[in-house]
Symmetry: C2
Subunit: 364 residues, 2 copies
């Protein structure tokens, strides 16, 4: 009798069973062996399994099919992880419906468990592409693994940015790992396999079917500590991923954009609904105290503003670049006159404010 | 002896006293007459009043100066309101440092007390101009008075939008009402006076000095129920107004923009700090239950989505435009299978979802 691992891999090759086995079938029958041994009538009692699928399970030469799939994967340098393998990603294990099987090209390292997903529209604008690339680069430079879906548009730019930043990146595919999609990302995929991993729950030879992508999206958010949506229309896969991320207890972030751009309508809506507004990697990492420590201190703020107290900062903001007489500054400042005067002196000493004749002040 | 009103107007014509009298001087001496009768030594004990200014107060022929200012205003069709006039705007009366004198060209009507300020950068981008104009138009069309500062850029577009929307708009100036600034807004100002009012705390003949504008800004936010910043750099007068608005207890809103545009850095920051993200007039008015009632119901949502329950809406979002087999839809939906199937049927009946052969569903 073949081992449980081989049988699980075999079951996962049945295209229409894949979704179901991750859910109730495994719970109901306890194991791949249990599913394979179940009477057809008990299989069809489960939702999503009709007579045809039940027949396919019953007719499966599981041992042979599983061993064949393992052999093919090995030949391609692909590792197959099942749910019980110790290399199976811990964070993904905890989502409501983790894939039972995960194909991997490349390696996963412990820091990948703290990765951030950067996702968005395939039909991205120049703005979205620029931002995705920059965010990928910033995260990678801070030692954060960038997780995405290898798709055209935002995904590809995020991966590229991470590679350019000299960091790690993980791509989750909606097809078999030997059916790289889209084809023009073949070189990018090779780069990702070298500086991270390509992952898929779909067996070798699986095409990028439209219905694979919602499933793929739950793995992207499931692997990540947080999900950043760069660009998304109001009804889009990226927003679906954001919903799923929230259900999985992940932090959701979004990049704001023009309210006149349909590609930012989804991200602006996310922000209105409470997603964190992101202007750069810093905004994401600061939401995770343990990750924030990785930010280079110098990046923290423009040097001149770094050492300011809150009242100093507020006063500097109130002054602006137009010269202002001291009594007007005092007038618009909340504190007592003496305190405002002291703050002005401090700002002057720091070279941020210049005094003109007649007690008139302006930003230096 | 001239009346208190005339003396207050006279004191307000002293350029450097104006700020101070709104503050401690009136409290300290009880009235304009009290200030005018105070010994120089007591005047200089107040912050912002030096010997020169105290001399100017003591040397002021207040009765004559006040009457002359009133006469000039009358000749220009300008009404002068002092703090004690019943026409003085109620909301403005309650800010920490209301102007003691307010010049008005045009009229204020009761609905103006529920106005919304729309402000932003003078150096606005095409994006900001478009949005300011649109927002002004939408607010005006909903019967909301648009308050702004007549400046170049965002302010001018907001006023223009309100006029185009057939609504009311109020402009607060940083100069005397006979020194309209900027000059190219003279026609716009005439339109505002006809469909609202021009206001200023500065006396006739006052030039648009740089230090007038922070004072002007507190009147803009002071008059409004809420303040929307359309575009603003990180250090800008508009952000100063937003700070002031918060101190005055006003709601602050901001329009998101590209994180790559310096003109949106200030508004994006405001949103991160908790300002309401605004995509249109609806988002503002919904923050004020009494104002939300003014929104036309039809504008509420695309007709097709209006009657959907939350679960229906969520399911519709999950489906997207790619065809999805029913078992995958069930799989990614949180509820039980039967409930999801029922929702699908409901969406199909509403014409929002189409069923393809093989129990495959897609958006209609």
């Amino acid at each position: 009798m073949a081992n449980e691992r081989t049988l699980t891999i075999a079951l996962n090759t049945l295209p229409r069973l894949r979704a179901a086995i991750a859910g109730e079938a495994f719970e109901r029958f306890g194991s791949a062996a249990g599913i394979l041994a179940a009477p057809a009538g008990e299989l069809t009692a489960l939702r999503g399994i009709g007579p045809i699928l039940a027949g396919a399970v019953r007719g499966l030469d599981a041992e042979r099919a599983g061993e064949e799939e393992e052999r093919r994967a090995r030949a391609l340098g692909i590792t197959i992880l099942t749910f019980d393998d110790q290399d199976y990603p811990e964070r993904l294990r905890l989502i409501p419906d983790p894939p039972r099987v995960l194909y991997r090209l490349g390696v996963l390292l412990p820091p990948d468990g703290d990765g951030i997903a950067v996702i968005g529209a395939r039909a991205a604008t120049a703005y979205g592409r620029t931002v995705a690339e920059r965010l990928g680069r910033e995260l990678a430079a801070a030692g954060i693994t960038v997780i995405s879906g290898l798709a055209r548009g935002i995904d590809g730019c995020a991966h590229r940015g991470a590679l350019a930043g000299g960091g790690r990146t993980v791509a989750v595919l909606g097809s078999g790992l030997d059916r790289m999609y889209p084809p023009e990302h073949a070189r990018l995929a090779a780069g990702i396999a070298a500086q991270g991993a390509l992952l898929s729950e779909f067996p070798l030879g699986a095409e990028p079917e439209p219905w694979h992508f919602p499933l793929r999206n739950r793995v992207i958010s499931g692997l990540a500590r947080g999900v950043v949506v760069v660009e998304a229309a109001v009804r889009s896969g990226a927003l679906g991923t954001a919903d799923m991320a929230l259900e999985q207890g992940r932090e959701v972030f979004a990049i704001p954009g023009p309210i006149t751009a349909p590609t930012s309508a989804g991200t602006n809506r996310l922000i209105r609904q409470g997603a964190g507004l992101v202007e750069g990697a810093r905004d994401i990492l600061e939401s995770f105290p343990d990750l924030a420590a990785r930010l280079p201190a110098a990046e923290a703020e423009p040097a001149a503003l770094a050492g300011l107290s809150d009242p100093e900062r507020r006063l500097l903001c109130a002054i602006g670049s137009a010269p202002l007489p001291i009594d007007d500054i005092i007038r618009v400042s909340p504190g007592p006159a003496a305190a405002t005067a002291a703050l002005l002196t401090a700002l002057e000493l720091k070279g941020l404010v210049r005094q003109h004749p007649g007690k008139i002040f302006a930003r230096a």
